[in-house]
Symmetry: C2
Subunit: 470 residues, 2 copies
């Protein structure tokens, strides 16, 4: 049997950190960034309204018992228990592919952390400072667990589904005030529910929304069970029959506690500028750089080679001709085509153009190639490199070292606000037929203004400013 050094217990150390985190111990710039991430998340959650998979999950949740309670369901302003609100908001906030991502862990923290802390804050009457503290606990834990699980995990598993359950549990556990021992149990119950396979990408299936919905809900459940005395495995991360043993071949225990309390992984989280899979962003920005430098029009561009890391090939390699908007967001050719024609690949650009004739023609001239330098740098750095063959026979090279939204090239509050309004006003992925946006423009601005002040609110209350002015 696998033996453990009893003095080494990283799951416990990580749990103790999450349980003991205090708002005062979080550097001001980290708390400020967490507010940015919250606002950015809220826009994505509102934009999920009307999306078919999101609405199906919401109908299921409503029928299963999620019809009333203290927590808000962002897409329809209804209320539910914190469990079902976390499930529905978790489903909603990942749909338009605009929520944040941490490069090194390839985890999307916001969509599993904020649904949980918002729902529990509303249930418990907690303050904004509590919400931000719990969110940072979720980010710091989730990112480190994601890094620990390694590249082998991400080849088959959707880390935001699997590891996201731990991030959600850490955030929920902090909201509930679990002590270190109960936090260990919460991690155990979360990790043993960790799930999410990439297989769905091959079929344009809806599993991504299910993964984020259930990571949030299961993480919240794990913490709630622990608060009531339910016991989980003590070493769910590093044990001989734990997460890494079952789902990773390159787990690196050193990552779990990497500079805990000094290195704030929350700060390393990237905002998504384009509304596509993050693996397409470096190449998209590199293409934009070539276009800007050489003043290219779409017609000037012949063939494009996106030079990428292996993870991009693994995730993006499956779709040749996208059949849905969602699938198009995972198609390098479509993303580069939209970027070349529109200068930006946002939710509206995808809705309007993902299957347009000129985009499809552009798409067919794009290919991906593994690049040794890009692959070595990944996942710590997401370098973008493209080679463009022009219609008149030139070969041009584009490169970005940090795509827009990355920590060294982050979005300003003005840019986040503009993105929020775009998303809040997005009429829904199902198109105009699905009805109106989640909010009108005046209310979107009011919600935004209120969201920016989240950390100062003594009671979090409603996200819809018009409904409550606490």
């Amino acid at each position: 049997m696998h033996m453990h050094d009893a003095s080494s217990h990283p799951t416990r150390d990580l749990a103790a950190f999450a349980a003991g985190l205090r708002f005062e111990a979080i550097p001001a710039e980290v708390a400020e960034r967490a507010v940015n991430l919250y606002v950015d998340w809220l826009g994505s959650a509102l934009a999920g309204k009307g999306a078919r998979p999101v609405e199906i999950i919401a109908r299921f949740a409503r029928a299963a018992g999620g019809r009333e309670g203290p927590a808000e369901v962002v897409i329809d302003r209804g209320r539910a228990s914190s469990y079902f609100a976390a499930m529905m908001n978790g489903a909603a906030s990942h749909f338009v592919e605009q929520d944040d991502v941490h490069n090194g862990s390839v985890l999307h923290p916001a969509t599993v952390v904020f649904p949980v802390v918002l729902a529990l804050a509303q249930e418990l009457g907690a303050s904004g400072a509590d919400l931000i503290t719990a969110a940072v606990a979720g980010y710091e834990v989730g990112i480190r667990v994601g890094e620990y699980m390694g590249r082998s995990h991400y080849k088959v598993f959707h880390t935001t589904g699997t590891v996201g359950t731990l991030a959600a549990a850490a955030a929920a556990g902090r909201m509930l005030g679990l002590d270190a021992e109960r936090m260990v149990h919460a991690f155990g119950s979360a990790g043993t529910q960790a799930s999410g396979l990439w297989e769905f990408l091959r079929d344009a299936a809806d599993s991504k929304q299910l993964h984020t919905a259930m990571a949030a809900a299961n993480g919240l459940m794990a913490a709630r069970l622990a608060a009531d005395g339910f016991r989980g495995a003590a070493r769910i991360l590093e044990g001989a029959q734990g997460m890494a043993a079952g789902m990773s071949s390159d787990a690196d225990p050193a990552r779990l506690l990497d500079r805990l309390g000094q290195r704030w992984a929350t700060m390393e989280t990237s905002f998504k500028y384009h509304a596509a899979c993050r693996h397409t962003h470096p190449a998209a920005d590199a293409l934009l750089a070539v276009i800007a430098e050489h003043g290219l029009r779409p017609a000037d561009i012949g063939r494009v080679t996106a030079r990428v890391h292996q993870g991009a090939l693994d995730v993006l390699g499956n779709v040749v001709i996208p059949r849905t908007v969602h699938q198009a967001k995972f198609n390098m050719g479509t993303v580069l085509g939209i970027v070349a024609h529109r200068g930006y690949a946002g939710v509206t650009e995808f809705e309007e153009d993902y299957d347009a004739t000129e985009i499809a023609a552009f798409r067919d001239r794009v290919r991906m190639e593994l690049d040794a330098e890009v692959d070595r740098a990944y996942p710590a750095r997401w370098i973008g490199k493209v080679t463009v063959e022009t219609a008149d026979g030139r070969e041009l090279h584009g490169r970005v070292d940090e795509p827009k939204g990355d920590p060294g090239n982050t979005l300003s509050r003005e840019e986040i606000s503009a993105k929020f309004i775009r998303l809040a006003m997005f009429p829904g992925a199902a198109g105009a037929a699905a009805g109106s946006p989640a909010v009108g423009v005046d209310e979107a601005r009011a919600i935004l203004e209120r969201a920016w002040r989240i950390a100062e609110q003594p009671v979090v209350g409603s996200v819809f400013a018009a409904m409550q002015t606490a």
Copy 2:
């Protein structure tokens, strides 16, 4: 990238079988056995009343929205949505370790299948024949998927948690009348939620109840989502980023469709005679055989060597001194000690004696040893072999080729009835302080009588006969 033979699509073939199964196509002996399995399951579900992890899950479910609905919660006779009833009954029915097991797949089908079909039958007003048909679909699918995932999977993953989600989805999908295409989607959404790690065994943690609760609930959710148009991966079992790719190194695709419709895996399911982990039963029965053959008293027995398969060492190897009744059921020494002293290791025997002085002393004289013959035969056959060194210096050998309850040594309806009454009357794993049994003896007999007639009921209705006499 991994390529597929487009003409081979076992996930679809298995889904089509589950979707198309009709009661009339099920051989009479299989339907009859399914009724036996249902009655056997119901006893285990009732016996879960009062167990701490079960009650914590039930409190969580009640608070999260499971307070009313059409489906019965067996442990407290309350009602809830089918989702939460499946969750609570799934948690309850695996606790006393008396629910059934299929040897070849090491899957416990009843605890993930019957909570789902009972809840949906009650919600839909379905007939007993529908319930039995859906249950058989769940058994046939779940067992084959478990066999497919192989021994490597079971080394780290609790198959009843992972594969159980597929079994539950197949059963739920059949109850909901999904066509083959939607059943594929249900499998996709179930498989991508498949989870459950053995790590908890090291700590006497409560995860086992969480695994069965969530396998049942998630499988039901997957089918419900599919019924509403939610799409899952088409090849969740065999795809390049599917279940086997992520969680098995010895998956055998031939097992998935093995004689589908001719070989009824439901018939191969074993009833559990002793209330302990199934991996202890072969040795327990072999020890009983030695004791009977040689007329041994406990004091006559010196050292005992249980000759086991590797899977038993993997699962049972972690606990040296059990600290709880539940942990004692995974401790070979304790099980053999109770068998030697009491002649049977049932729920009551464990409650009374798991930490008795003479049992602890016996336990310390038991060791396990890997046996090549036993290991080769496993998991198709669970051979029991023990070597007993007697106090007077003899070395005796005991052997059973099929432990009691196995298909070739199955329980009669009389034995199942006796076991049911024992379980229904069990005062709860938390001891007498936790309150009364789920039912009194007269009501237990009435419930039993009604349960035996399940297949003839035009509407399944309540399991509590006194509440409804349809």
